[in-house]
Symmetry: C2
């Protein structure tokens, strides 16, 4: 931990024998600079190991090249995979990312947002389920662009990146209907989830008009605890909105000697790496989480630089992988 303070642009200009302005020009690669001067400056920069001070730059230019990433829970693999995509593209465009775990807590969310505002981030990628109306209003009031990654704003017209949940859940319903009747099929979802659960429900009901709908949280335990109700109600196949509760349901069945998929079928939909790790492996909607994150961040870069954007709500393709929890 050496203590010599960082060299400034002033040191560079002195060493290179040019003015501050010129150094700034070569650092930011704008304005005309003679090749030779440029070389001198670059040399001085290298020798001093000069790094521009991001704060000073931000203050002077009112651009921070920093984006905020709001995420409810990093230990939810779906979110983690989105985050990786976001981070990867942020790196490409030289944005740093300020992380804020909002914990699905409205207060924490509000504070996180405030922090991002005082940091003067140039934009925000918002990942969220259970987004409160208050939070939406806050986000809508943002002076910088906001993109919803893997979630939609309630009014459905803020920039966002998702798969076509209506279609996906209709297809999932159709798959279960091949062997089951409507009343034997259920949807298990977390209704708190932004506008997404409404879309899922809509798709589900398109295929399974008399299908029943159960609520669960996003975690393993909720699924496990819900499972016996499903059995009591004569449900023989479920579509689950999140992977962890899907695994909870699966394990309950296994622990209670219910044969999967013979007597109980499961389709999950977040397609995290979890679904490959269970036995039987879980049949699932396949979605490009990484890409959803990546495209969200790319969209944000466009928004931030005022580039034209054809459609701010982008839909990415999904597929199905039918493994061993469906017939």
């Amino acid at each position: 931990m050496s203590e010599n303070k960082q060299p400034t642009i002033y040191d560079v200009s002195e060493r290179a024998g040019v003015s501050l302005a010129t150094v700034s020009r070569v650092v930011n690669n704008n304005g005309k600079v003679k090749e030779e001067t440029k070389r001198k400056v670059l040399k001085a920069i290298k020798e001093l190991n000069y790094r521009p001070n991001a704060m000073a730059k931000g203050l002077a230019s009112s651009k921070t090249t920093m984006v905020g990433m709001m995420v409810p829970d990093l230990t939810d693999l779906y979110f983690a995979e989105l985050a990786q995509g976001i981070d990867a593209v942020a790196k490409i465009y030289d944005y740093s990312v300020s992380l804020s775990v909002s914990d699905n807590n409205p207060t924490a969310g509000k504070e996180a947002f405030e922090t991002l505002m005082s940091q003067h981030v140039d934009g925000i990628v918002y990942i969220g389920n259970k987004t409160s109306q208050e939070m939406f209003d806050l986000l809508k009031s943002s002076p910088v662009p906001v993109v919803f990654a893997g979630s939609v704003a309630q009014d459905g017209k803020l920039p966002s990146v998702n798969i076509d949940y209506v279609q996906a859940f209709q297809q999932a319903g159709d798959i279960l209907k091949q062997h089951l009747s409507d009343t034997q099929i259920a949807l298990v979802d977390n209704p708190g989830e932004s506008g997404l659960s409404a879309l899922r429900q809509q798709g589900f009901l398109k295929a399974v008009s008399k299908g029943k709908i159960y609520e669960s949280e996003d975690d393993y335990r909720s699924g496990y605890n819900l499972a016996h109700h499903l059995l009591e109600d004569g449900i023989k196949g479920v579509i689950v909105g999140e992977d962890e509760p899907a695994i909870g349901i699966l394990n309950y069945m296994l622990d209670n000697h219910v044969k999967v998929p013979a007597d109980f079928q499961i389709i999950s939909s977040n397609d995290t790496k979890l679904v490959k790790m269970t036995r039987p492996a879980i049949s699932s909607v396949t979605q490009p989480e990484f890409d959803i994150g990546a495209v969200s961040m790319r969209l944000l870069t466009k928004l931030m630089s005022g580039d034209p954007v054809d459609d701010p709500t982008v839909i990415l393709p999904h597929e199905f992988v039918l493994k061993d929890t469906t017939l």
Copy 2:
């Protein structure tokens, strides 16, 4: 996205009829300010919805109240859980966190570090396996404090937070030795992992002096692919350094009708939520990931404010949960 620019400290001082300095004093709660003046200022702040500009503040005070968090991969649940702990404590101490996914790539790691330096973070929490010597040197040269969370520096004496891996792996070895002989027991680990794998190995060999050691990556597939070698070599029980390869091994056994735990035992050691989700559930070292992250961040706050720190290398307690992959 309204466009009225943010109010500054100047607007507040004007509205409250006091000087900049006074506003600054009440905002930072230092220096003496008369109760009445304070009230006036607070009122103005509220009315204008004033938020201090973090960059200006950072520039002027050369403190950013921002820490860097370097992590190789967010989709590794062990890291994600550490990150949650770090974030939680950062919030408590009002630090924002600048995220950098280093991807186990030395170049990316170096760039991430550079970015944090130009952001002038006040400190860094480093999470990493496979840390290159170059990266260590870089971290050691940091002008701000660095804490290793869930990993140790090669020379073992930089600030870090971990469990006692030597003891844990010795205990794990002892557990398997209850039903198996030395030559039937193996350690599966990723030797690239900072200094940790050396410690694990050391503990393992203490209990199982003639035990064999296999290398694997940190992912599911590596474990799955390694499994048949274990069988061919007559191994009947393994201790695995990471959960995902442990599950890979487990699933290979299941897929090939090897009875677990009767004919093959497994103990894993990262204790992510994954180990509860398999069937049979995996026996595992139990470690307080969240706390490791939390304590790391807390340690960093002390280091950053120059508080005395008794021992910079802290060891947190671990336990064992023997579920269904051990006899």
